[in-house]
Symmetry: C2
Subunit: 256 residues, 2 copies
């Protein structure tokens, strides 16, 4: 890494200056190490002093880089202990991606959700599934369906699609037997870390068998939640289509 202060770098004559602060470059390097698996989810990364030495940079510069990684939820700082690679296998981040909360009570106050895997099989991607996952039509994908129940009431039915290659070996049994967040399983078993997601939300009438699984009348309004989840580098790794009952729960969002 550059021991020197950042230089304005012209890629070629007339190019945009493309100035990038040192701490951004350091952030990029740490990001690379995270992606490459040099440090696994849950583990500590080297101390700020160590990283400063490694990159020949002051501690303050490393600090600013890590600050941004922490803001992106890629890393968690713990005073007196160190900085750790973020993981989905923690209680307090259980509901980072599931925004459905009960009308009365707090997220998770109903106890752990009951999960029923209906199915998990290997299929060929349709045109739209492939497009969303960045694959080609006909590429192999794993398709699964599950029902989540809270306090005994089936509340969510989800279909999900995963590119087959990175998730080779995933089976219905593996999904059914695992107790804990699905994204935590992905981390430990397949080395795939979900970093962010985009959701498209609509109101739709219950149909296609969803009404049976959720035990509501056909045509009952359901929240349709289509989620595309990304790993590092904005690579899509999961498509999920969920249908939520919202008679006892609601989707909570905060605007800043």
């Amino acid at each position: 890494m550059a021991a020197l202060p950042t230089l304005p770098t012209d890629d070629f004559a007339g190019a945009t200056p493309a100035f990038s602060p040192l701490y951004q470059q350091i952030k990029g390097l740490i990001l690379q190490s995270l992606q490459s698996g040099e440090w696994k989810p849950g583990e500590a990364i080297p101390s700020e002093m160590d990283l400063a030495a490694r990159f020949r940079v002051s501690q303050g510069t490393v600090r600013k880089a890590i600050d941004e990684l922490a803001a992106d939820n890629l890393v968690v700082r713990r005073q007196g202990k160190g900085t750790f690679v973020a993981t989905h296998a923690e209680q307090h981040v259980q509901f980072r991606f599931l925004k459905l909360v009960p009308d009365s009570g707090t997220p998770g106050s109903e106890g752990p959700a009951e999960r029923d895997i209906i199915d998990c099989r290997r299929v060929r991607a349709s045109a739209d599934i492939a497009r969303l996952l960045g694959l080609r039509t006909g590429d192999a994908v794993l398709q699964a369906r599950r029902v989540l129940s809270f306090a005994g009431t089936p509340t969510i039915v989800e279909d999900l699609w995963l590119p087959a290659a990175p998730f080779k070996g995933l089976t219905t049994e593996r999904l059914a037997d695992y107790h804990g967040p699905m994204y935590a399983l992905f981390e430990t078993e397949f080395n795939v870390r979900m970093v962010r997601a985009e959701e498209k939300i609509r109101a739709v009438p219950a149909s296609d068998g969803h009404e049976l699984l959720l035990k509501v009348a056909q045509g009952t309004p359901l929240l349709s939640v289509e989620r595309l989840a990304y790993t590092y580098n904005d690579v899509p790794m999961e498509l999920r289509r969920g249908y939520y009952r919202t008679d006892t729960h609601y989707y909570r969002n905060t605007l800043n």
Copy 2:
């Protein structure tokens, strides 16, 4: 302000140390000035050097305080120009609170929404409206209804409730004549700045006349969006109940 390094302050014997870093205290002081209206939305606040001198603190400390205010969207930094009080009267923040985007195109690509104020009148708050707005049942509130249309299609019908006291003088005409974001009107006319909001989202069947305003069949699934918007200090200042058609638009959310 304290020129001295922060002292651990015990409020009384045995109390929690309640340690608060200097920059947090500075942030609080700047926040007070924002609330008191010392600097109006859109105006520049004093430079970092000026604030550092005023609070007898280093520039770095002021910087960290302002960094957090910027992260909270209370203030906007512009290199070479200064730091400005955030405002809703800017193009690029038009859609900070409206998360509904068209299926094809980008937010706002349909041109400005057409707004029809149906009604605005003074009523007494029901129990639940009062509770949400932090008032007492029977307190005066302004109630309004409006329809938003995109590309000629009525897409959103919203009812909204405002505490009557801070919004004294608001009329149907005032709302109808104003072109620009409603929250910008609130800033300039009533000195009320919306800082954050919470939304509860459900899927519900069209009814109560919403089906007529949106020109859909009764029972059509609509997205129900209940928004509680807050000013400084977590004081609720607006309750909004919106019903969104989601056949040509969707509610977009990003999870980090």
